[in-house]
C-alpha cells in the first residue's frame, strides 16, 4: 500500500499543474451549467434564430478533451520504451504501479466530476436520493470516457497523444459519421447516431464495451510493437468501433423501455384494426426506379378508449392480384425506435378526445390535423392499378397515452412544479410571431422548463412534453405550435436540465374563438406528457381493393397565366382571339381544329375572366359571346373537335358555342333567355301514348358539362334535325329507388338525401338513415374545421336534430372570418333550409356567421317536421 500511495504521490507531483487546469475546467463547466457564466436568455424581440453555440455541448466537449489530455499525461520516464523500461528498473510491482495509476484516475478525475454533479444537484434543490443517483451516473459516465485511457500512454508517444485527441474529435464530428452511415446502409442496419444532449446512455454503454479492448491492444503492442501509423490506426479503429456500436440498435437508453406493456396487451387483445374509407390515401411512389404504392391512413383499433393513441408500422405486407403474389416493395430505412413517430402525433393528432383530466364537454382541437396519418406503409406495386387486389398486412401498433403534466394561466410569471418538472412562463406575446413580427391572432409564449433527466430516471424522454393552449370557457384546444429562438439548454448530463423554449400558436385570437389579448390570462397553458406504453401485434385484410380509384389523376391541362398582360383578362382574351387568323372559307378539318385549339389555349390562359368575386359575382363582368359566335359555325360540322375540347373546358366556352349554334339553328322552343342571355327551352309537347294530351317541358338553361360529353351529340343531333325532340331525354330523369338513395347516403351523407329518406313512410329507412348518421358522427375527429369529406356527417347530424352536433357546427362557423362568410353555405343549409331552396346571399351568410358567435346550441330549437333549426323567440 505504501508503494501504491508513494507512486500516486509521485504522479500527483507531476500532474498537479495539469490537475489545476482540469479543476478549473470542471468549475467553469459548473458555472456554465448553473448559468453563473453565459446565462440563458429568452430570444430578444426581432432576433432571428441563427447559428448559435450550444454551450452545454461545447462545455462537455472541452471537459472531456481536458480529461483525456490529463489521463494521457504521464511522466516521461514511465512511458519510455512503451513502459517496459520503467517497470523493469524500479522497485515497484506491477500491481502497485497500476493501483497507483488507478488512484490517480479515481481521486483526480472521477471524484471531481462526481462532486460537480453533487454540488450542481444540491444547488438546484434536488433531493438527496437524486444527488446520490447523479453522482453514481457521473461515475459510470466518467468511467467509460476515461478509464480505458489509463493504459493508453503506453501505446501513444509524445505528440501522438495530442494528435489522437484531435483526431478523435474531428472524426467523430464529421467523417466517421458519413463513413459509418454508408457502411450501415449497405449492410441494411439501422444507423441512428445518438444525440449528444440526451442520449448519453448509448454512448456510455458502447464505450465501456469497446474500452475493454484497449488493455488488450496495449498488451499486444508490448509484445509486438506497432509502428506510428499502426498506433494511430488502432485508435481510429477503436473509435470507429465505438461509434458504430453507439449508433446501432444494439443499445437502448434506459428511458426507452415501454412503461406498461401488460396494460397494452390486455387492452388490445381481440380488437380489430379499423380504417374508415375516407381516411385512406394511396399514392404512386418511386424508389430508385422501382414503383410502389404508399399507403397512408388514420387507423384505429376498434373500441379502444380514446386516451390511447396508436402509431402503426408494418411487419409484413402481401398483395395478391388474380391469385398472383406481387413482389415486395422496396424497403427504406426505418427509425431505430419506431415509437418516435408518436412525437409527431403529439403535435398533429387531435387531442381533444384524448386529453386527460378535467376538460369541458365538447372540447374541440383547433389546429390539429383531423387526418393525422398514424400509418404509413409501402405496399407492392400491382400489375394493373385498375384491377382489384387483396392486401394482407401484419401490423405493430406503438401505443402512447397522454398525461396532463401541469398547467398555468397564460400570463407571464406563472409557474408550476410537478415531480421531476418545474416550469415558469417568462413571456406571453399576443399578436406576435416567433420572429418578433406582428402576426394577427398568434400567441408566442416563452417559458423556462427544468426537468429530471437522469439516464435511469428520465422524465423528459423519450417523448418530450408538449404545450397546448386550452380555453376552458370557449372549449377550444390549440396544440400545433412552431418553435423559434435559438436552442438553449443546460445541465443535460447532470440529471437536472434547464431549457428556454419559445413557441408560437397560430389562430388563437381569431374572431369567434372568444380569446382576446385582454382575457389571455383566463386561458390555460397545458403541458401534455406523452407516455410510451408498449406495442401490440395485429393483422389486417383489404379485399377487392382498386388502388387506381384512389390515385390522383393528373390529366388536366397545365395551368398557365398571361405572361405579358396584367389588365382585364376578358378584354385581353378577346383581343387575342381577334388577332388569330380565321380559317378560310372551305378550310379543311386540320386548319379549323388548329384555330379552335388556339382559341381554347387562349381561353385556358385567360381563365381568370370567369373567376367569381366574394359576392359570387363575376370579377371581370362580361361574357364570351363574340368568341362563341366566331366558333359556332364549326360546331356541327366538327363536333368531334369540340367534344375533345369539352373535357378540359373550365370556362364553359363549349357550352357557349353550343348555345349560339342551337339559337342559330331555329329549333322550336329554343329562345334566348332575357335573364341569363343563354339559350333556354320551353314548349308544350304531346304526351307519349296519350293522343291529344300535352305537357310543358322547360329547360332554363341548356346544360353541357365536361363530365357528360355525350350530351354534346344530342345537341348536334337537334341542330342537324332542326328539331327539339332529341332534347327530351335530357329532361326525363328516372328517380332512384329508396334503397339506392340509402346506399348513396351511406357514402355521401348528403343532407338532401337525408331529408328525402326521413320523409319515407317506411320506418326502416328512417331508422337506418339515423343509425348511419349517428355512427359516422361518433367517428368524427374532434376538430373545429373538418376537412372535405368529413364535414358531411356533421351537417347531416345537425339536420337530424342532434344538439351536440349543432354546438360543434356553430363553433366551427363562429371561427370563420367575416370575409369568408360564403364558405359557411353548407352549414347554413344544414341548419336552416334544404339545398334546393337556392343559395342565400352574402349578407344572410354574414349574419349567420355573426349569429354563430353570439348564440349557442341552446338558443335554437329543432323543428323535426321541417328538419330545420330556429332561433328561440325569447333570445335577443
Amino acid at each position: 500500500m505504501n508503494l501504491t500511495l508513494h507512486h500516486f504521490l509521485k504522479e500527483f507531483r507531476y500532474l498537479r499543474l495539469r490537475w489545476c487546469v482540469l479543476l478549473a475546467v470542471v468549475l467553469l463547466d459548473l458555472g456554465v451549467q448553473m448559468e453563473w457564466v453565459l446565462p440563458m436568455r429568452a430570444a430578444e424581440l426581432g432576433s432571428v434564430a441563427g447559428v448559435t453555440v450550444s454551450y452545454d455541448t461545447l462545455m462537455r466537449l472541452v471537459l472531456w478533451m481536458v480529461a483525456w489530455w490529463f489521463m494521457l499525461s504521464v511522466p516521461p520516464e514511465e512511458s519510455g520504451n512503451d513502459g517496459r523500461g520503467y517497470a523493469q528498473t524500479r522497485p515497484l510491482s506491477r500491481v502497485s504501479y497500476w493501483a497507483g495509476r488507478l488512484m490517480v484516475w479515481v481521486l483526480l478525475v472521477v471524484t471531481p466530476l462526481m462532486l460537480e454533479s453533487a454540488v450542481y444537484l444540491w444547488l438546484n434543490g434536488r433531493p438527496w436520493d437524486e444527488v446520490a443517483l447523479g453522482m453514481a451516473e457521473r461515475a459510470w459516465a466518467a468511467g467509460s470516457m476515461t478509464l480505458w485511457l489509463l493504459p493508453l500512454p503506453l501505446l501513444l508517444r509524445g505528440w501522438e497523444r495530442y494528435a489522437a485527441i484531435v483526431l478523435v474529435v474531428l472524426l467523430k464530428e464529421s467523417w466517421l459519421t458519413s463513413v459509418l452511415y454508408v457502411v450501415f446502409k449497405e449492410l441494411h442496419w439501422v444507423y441512428d447516431s445518438p444525440q449528444m444532449a440526451m442520449e448519453c446512455g448509448r454512448v456510455v454503454k458502447a464505450t465501456w464495451l469497446v474500452g475493454l479492448l484497449v488493455p488488450v491492444v496495449v498488451m499486444w503492442h508490448q509484445r509486438r510493437p506497432f509502428g506510428m501509423l499502426a498506433r494511430l490506426g488502432v485508435v481510429v479503429l477503436l473509435v470507429a468501433l465505438q461509434h458504430g456500436m453507439e449508433a446501432s440498435a444494439l443499445f437502448r437508453n434506459a428511458y426507452e423501455k415501454p412503461s406498461d406493456p401488460e396494460l397494452i396487451r390486455r387492452l388490445t387483445a381481440g380488437r380489430e384494426v379499423a380504417i374508415a374509407e375516407r381516411d385512406r390515401r394511396f399514392e404512386q411512389e418511386n424508389f430508385n426506379g422501382r414503383k410502389y404504392i404508399l399507403f397512408r391512413a388514420h387507423a384505429l383499433l376498434g373500441g379502444m378508449p380514446d386516451e390511447y393513441v396508436p402509431f402503426w408500422r408494418a411487419t409484413s405486407e402481401a398483395m395478391m392480384q388474380k391469385g398472383k403474389a406481387m413482389p415486395a416493395p422496396p424497403k427504406g430505412e426505418g427509425p431505430r425506435l419506431p415509437f418516435q413517430g408518436l412525437a409527431y402525433l403529439g403535435m398533429h393528432y387531435p387531442m381533444a378526445a384524448a386529453l386527460p383530466g378535467e376538460k369541458p364537454d365538447g372540447l374541440l382541437s383547433v389546429d390539429a390535423q383531423q387526418t393525422a396519418q398514424n400509418m404509413q406503409i409501402s405496399l407492392p406495386q400491382p400489375e394493373k392499378l385498375e384491377e382489384p387486389v387483396s392486401v394482407h398486412l401484419g401490423l405493430t401498433a406503438e401505443w402512447m397515452r397522454v398525461q396532463r403534466l401541469g398547467e398555468v394561466p397564460l400570463k407571464a410569471g406563472a409557474r408550476f412544479q410537478a415531480p421531476g418538472f418545474e416550469i415558469e412562463l417568462l413571456q406571453v406575446r399576443p399578436n406576435e410571431d416567433g420572429r418578433g413580427d406582428k402576426a394577427y391572432s398568434c400567441v408566442t409564449v416563452v417559458y423556462r422548463m427544468s426537468a429530471r433527466c437522469f439516464e435511469w430516471r428520465n422524465d423528459l424522454m423519450p417523448l418530450f412534453p408538449h404545450p397546448c393552449i386550452l380555453s376552458p370557457k370557449n372549449r377550444y384546444l390549440w396544440q400545433f405550435m412552431v418553435s423559434s429562438g435559438s436552442e438553449q439548454v443546460r445541465g443535460t448530463s447532470l440529471g437536472w436540465c434547464h431549457m428556454i423554449q419559445q413557441q408560437t400558436f397560430h389562430s388563437v385570437m381569431t374572431c369567434g374563438s372568444g380569446v382576446t389579448p385582454k382575457n389571455l390570462g383566463e386561458q390555460r397553458l397545458v403541458w401534455l406528457k406523452p407516455e410510451y406504453l408498449g406495442s401490440s401485434q395485429h393483422e389486417m385484410e383489404m379485399k377487392d381493393l382498386k388502388i387506381g380509384g384512389y390515385l390522383l389523376k393528373r390529366d388536366g391541362w397545365p395551368w398557365s397565366t398571361p405572361a405579358t398582360e396584367a389588365g382585364n383578362p376578358r378584354e385581353a382574351f378577346l383581343r387575342q382571339v381577334r388577332s388569330l387568323p380565321r380559317p378560310a372559307e372551305g378550310a379543311g378539318r386540320a386548319e379549323i381544329a388548329q384555330y379552335v385549339a388556339e382559341v381554347y389555349a387562349a381561353s385556358a390562359v385567360y381563365i381568370e375572366r370567369v373567376y367569381l368575386g366574394k359576392e359570387g359575382e363575376l370579377k371581370w363582368p362580361g361574357n364570351d359571346r363574340e368568341v362563341c359566335l366566331l366558333l359556332a359555325p364549326y360546331f356541327v360540322e366538327h363536333a368531334d373537335v369540340f367534344r375533345a375540347a369539352l373535357v378540359h373546358d373550365n370556362a364553359s366556352l363549349t357550352q357557349g358555342v353550343m348555345h349560339e349554334a342551337v339559337l342559330q339553328a331555329g329549333i322550336p322552343g329554343i329562345t334566348r333567355s332575357e335573364k341569363t342571355g343563354w339559350a333556354r327551352y320551353e314548349r308544350e309537347v304531346p304526351v307519349a301514348g296519350k293522343p291529344g294530351q300535352v305537357r310543358k317541358r322547360v329547360m332554363e338553361m341548356l346544360g353541357l358539362a365536361p363530365w357528360r360529353p355525350d350530351d354534346l351529340d344530342v345537341y348536334v343531333n337537334a341542330i342537324r334535325r332542326h328539331s327539339d325532340e332529341p332534347l327530351w331525354p335530357l329532361m326525363d330523369g328516372k328517380p332512384p329507388s329508396t334503397d339506392e338513395v340509402l346506399a348513396d347516403y351511406a357514402k355521401s351523407f348528403d343532407r338532401g338525401y337525408l331529408g328525402w329518406l326521413m320523409r319515407r313512410p317506411d320506418v326502416k329507412y328512417r331508422e337506418e338513415a339515423e343509425r348511419l348518421t349517428r355512427k359516422a358522427y361518433a367517428e368524427l375527429p374532434r376538430v373545429v374545421h373538418l376537412e372535405r369529406g368529413f364535414e358531411k356527417p356533421l351537417q347531416a347530424a345537425v339536420a337530424l336534430g342532434m344538439p351536440e352536433a349543432l354546438d360543434w357546427m356553430l363553433r366551427d362557423v363562429a371561427m370563420r372570418e367575416d370575409e369568408l362568410a360564403r364558405g359557411a353555405m353548407m352549414q347554413y343549409h344544414a341548419m336552416f333550409a334544404p339545398q334546393d331552396q337556392g343559395q342565400p346571399d352574402t349578407k344572410t351568410l354574414l349574419k349567420f356567421v355573426q349569429d354563430a358567435r353570439r348564440y349557442s346550441a341552446k338558443d335554437y330549437r329543432y323543428d323535426a317536421e321541417k328538419m330545420i333549426w330556429e332561433l328561440r323567440p325569447e333570445r335577443p
Binding site: P558, S579, A601, H648
Partner: protein, 537 residues
C-alpha cells in the same frame, strides 16, 4: 562551367532533392491522391456520401513539410545534417524546390480542371493562381519555420501560442464575416509581406542565423499595411444610366411608353426594350444608397425589420414585354408562375413606415436593364444532354432536362455557377450593388412555337425567403445556385388539333434571356407627391 560537379552547389541541391523524394514518396503520392480527390469533390454539386475531410490535403502537406524540415532542422540534435557535407544553403534550396514541385505545383494545377469553362481571361487566370499560391506559401513557410525552430519546450510553447494568437487576432478582427474588397486587398498585400517574411525567416533559421528581426520587421510591416494601406484594385465605380432621361409621374397613366412601379407611380422615358427595377428608396438625408434599402431585389419581411435578398430577384412582366418585339405579333404569351406587373402598394407603405418620415423628400434609385438573349437553340437539342452557357468571366449557366413525362411536365434543372478569383479586378457584374451586396442574377427562359403561335415563358422558381449567400471567401468566390424552369406541353393543340409531341418539339426553339444592367439613376420624390400617392390608395 561544370554545374554538376559532385561538389557543385547544383549537384548538392539535386542530391538533396532525390533524398527528399526517397524519404517522402509515399506521403507525396498520398498527398497527390488527396489533392486530386479534393479537386474532384469541389467540382461536384453534391457532397459524396463518404466525403474526404477538407482538412486532409492541408494536414498531409503540413506533415510532409514538418517531416522534411525536422529531418535536417538545426534544432534537432539527433540528425546527421550537422556533419553532412552538403551545406545548409543547398539543403534549404532543395527543400524549397521539393515543396514547390511536389506540393505547390499539383495544388496550382488543380485550378485548370476546376476553373476551365468559366470564360477566364489571362487576368482571371493569374489572379486564380496567385490566390491559390499565396495561402499555400504562407502555410508552407510558416510550417517550415515552426518545424525548423521547434525542439525546446519553450520554443514549442511560443510557436503554439503565436499561432493561436494569430488565429485569435484574425477571429477578433473579422469573426465569421468576410472582409470587404478594400480590406481584402490590404490583407493580400499584408499576406504577401508575411509570406516573404516567413520564407526569409525559415532561411535564416536554417542557416542558423537569428530570424527575430526579420519576423518583427515583417510582422510590423504587415500590420501597418492592414492598418494604413489604402489599395483597392477591385473597386468598380457604379455605372450611371445614360441611355435616356427618365422621370417619375404620379397620378393617371400618361400616354406613351411608361412603366408602372407602384399603383399610380410611373417611370417615363424608358426605351422600349429596357426595364427599370427599384434598387433603393429612402428619405433624402439618409446615407445613400441606404443599407436598409427597399427594392425589387430585397424583401422586407416584417415590422421587426428583417431584410432578405430575393433569390433570385423578381423579374416583372415588363421584362417579358420587352421581349415581344423579338417574336411574331399575335403570339399567345403565357407562363406557369405568378409574377405581378408591379410591386404591391403595401410594400411601399411598409417601407415608409420603417423610416416613418414624410416631412422630407425621398430619393428613388432605379437600375435599368436591357434584355439580352444569351442562347437560342432548337428544343430538340435542349432536351438532349447538358448545356453550358458562359455569361461572362466567372459566370456560367448549366442546364438540362430533368422531368419529361406523360403528365405534360417538362422541367429543366439549371445551375448558375459563379467562380471568380477575388484578387482580380471586379467584373462588370459587380457594378450594381444593393445595400452593399452583390445582386443575384435572374433568367427568363422561353419556348417559341411559331406553328401554334405560342410563346411559353418560365422564370426561375421562387425560392422563398432563403438567405442570400454570395459565396465569397477571402480570395475566391464560389457559389452554385440551383434553379428550375418548368413548362407544360401544348395540350390544347395536342388534344384538339392532334399535334404530336415530336412535331411540337421540332417546331419549337428555346431561348434564354438575361437582363443586362445598363446603369442606375437617382430620382427625387417630393414629400407631397409621396404623401398623395399613399393617401390615394
Amino acid at each position: 562551367m561544370k554545374t554538376m560537379c559532385p561538389t557543385s552547389f547544383a549537384f548538392r541541391v539535386r542530391h538533396q532533392l532525390v533524398q527528399e523524394w526517397c524519404a517522402q514518396w509515399f506521403l507525396v503520392l498520398l498527398w497527390l491522391a488527396a489533392v486530386a480527390t479534393d479537386c474532384w469533390q469541389s467540382m461536384q454539386d453534391e457532397r459524396p456520401a463518404i466525403a474526404m475531410p477538407g482538412f486532409l490535403p492541408g494536414l498531409l502537406a503540413m506533415i510532409i513539410i514538418v517531416r522534411s524540415v525536422r529531418a535536417d532542422a538545426p534544432g534537432n540534435a539527433e540528425v546527421a545534417t550537422h556533419v553532412r557535407p552538403l551545406g545548409r544553403g543547398a539543403v534549404w534550396l532543395a527543400k524549397v524546390l521539393f515543396f514547390k514541385m511536389a506540393l505547390l505545383l499539383p495544388w496550382l494545377a488543380c485550378a485548370w480542371p476546376e476553373c476551365r469553362g468559366y470564360g477566364f481571361g489571362p487576368v482571371e487566370w493569374m489572379a486564380e493562381i496567385a490566390g491559390r499560391a499565396l495561402p499555400a506559401v504562407m502555410l508552407g513557410a510558416g510550417t517550415a519555420l515552426g518545424a525548423s525552430w521547434s525542439g525546446v519546450a519553450w520554443k514549442n510553447g511560443a510557436l503554439i501560442g503565436g499561432v493561436i494568437a494569430g488565429l485569435g487576432l484574425m477571429w477578433w478582427k473579422f469573426g465569421t464575416k468576410m472582409p470587404e474588397d478594400a480590406e481584402r486587398c490590404m490583407l493580400v498585400v499584408a499576406g504577401l509581406v508575411l509570406g516573404v517574411t516567413l520564407l526569409m525567416a525559415w532561411w535564416q533559421s536554417t542557416m542558423r542565423r537569428r530570424a527575430w528581426m526579420t519576423l518583427t520587421v515583417g510582422g510590423l510591416t504587415a500590420l501597418l499595411v492592414v492598418k494604413l494601406g489604402h489599395w483597392n484594385w477591385r473597386a468598380q465605380p457604379e455605372r450611371m444610366y445614360a441611355d435616356a432621361k427618365l422621370a417619375l409621374h404620379f397620378g393617371e397613366r400618361p400616354e406613351g411608353a411608361v412603366q408602372e412601379l407602384w399603383e399610380g407611380i410611373y417611370v417615363t422615358g424608358l426605351p422600349a426594350d429596357q426595364v427599370a427595377s427599384v434598387v433603393a428608396f429612402a428619405p433624402v438625408g439618409e446615407a445613400w444608397p441606404p443599407k436598409k434599402a427597399f427594392s425589387d431585389y430585397r424583401m422586407l419581411l416584417g415590422e421587426s425589420g428583417h431584410w432578405n435578398q430575393r433569390r433570385p430577384w423578381k423579374m416583372r412582366m415588363g421584362h417579358t414585354r420587352a421581349l415581344m418585339p423579338h417574336y411574331p405579333a399575335g403570339s399567345l404569351w403565357h407562363k406557369d408562375e405568378e409574377n405581378g406587373d408591379r410591386e404591391p402598394m403595401k410594400t411601399l407603405q411598409k417601407v415608409v413606415l420603417v423610416y416613418g418620415d414624410l416631412s422630407r423628400p425621398w430619393r428613388l434609385r432605379l437600375a435599368v436593364q436591357r434584355m439580352k438573349r444569351v442562347v437560342t437553340m432548337p428544343l430538340g437539342e435542349a432536351i438532349e444532354g447538358e448545356k453550358r452557357i458562359v455569361l461572362d468571366a466567372g459566370r456560367r449557366l448549366d442546364f438540362g432536362i430533368s422531368v419529361l413525362n406523360d403528365y405534360s411536365e417538362m422541367k429543366f434543372w439549371a445551375m448558375l455557377r459563379r467562380r471568380f478569383p477575388l484578387l482580380a479586378p471586379a467584373g462588370e457584374q459587380e457594378r450594381l450593388r444593393v445595400a452593399g451586396d452583390l445582386t443575384e442574377e435572374a433568367f427568363l427562359v422561353l419556348l417559341h412555337s411559331p406553328g401554334i403561335r405560342e410563346v411559353s415563358t418560365a422564370g426561375e422558381w421562387d425560392k422563398g425567403d432563403e438567405n442570400y449567400w454570395s459565396g465569397d471567401e477571402l480570395l475566391h468566390r464560389l457559389n452554385n445556385r440551383p434553379a428550375a424552369f418548368e413548362f407544360g406541353h401544348p395540350r390544347a393543340q395536342m388534344e384538339i388539333a392532334g399535334l404530336t409531341f415530336d412535331d411540337w418539339v421540332d417546331d419549337t426553339t428555346l431561348d434564354v434571356w438575361w437582363p443586362e444592367e445598363r446603369g442606375v439613376v437617382d430620382l427625387e420624390v417630393s414629400a407631397e407627391e409621396l404623401r398623395r400617392a399613399l393617401e390615394v390608395r
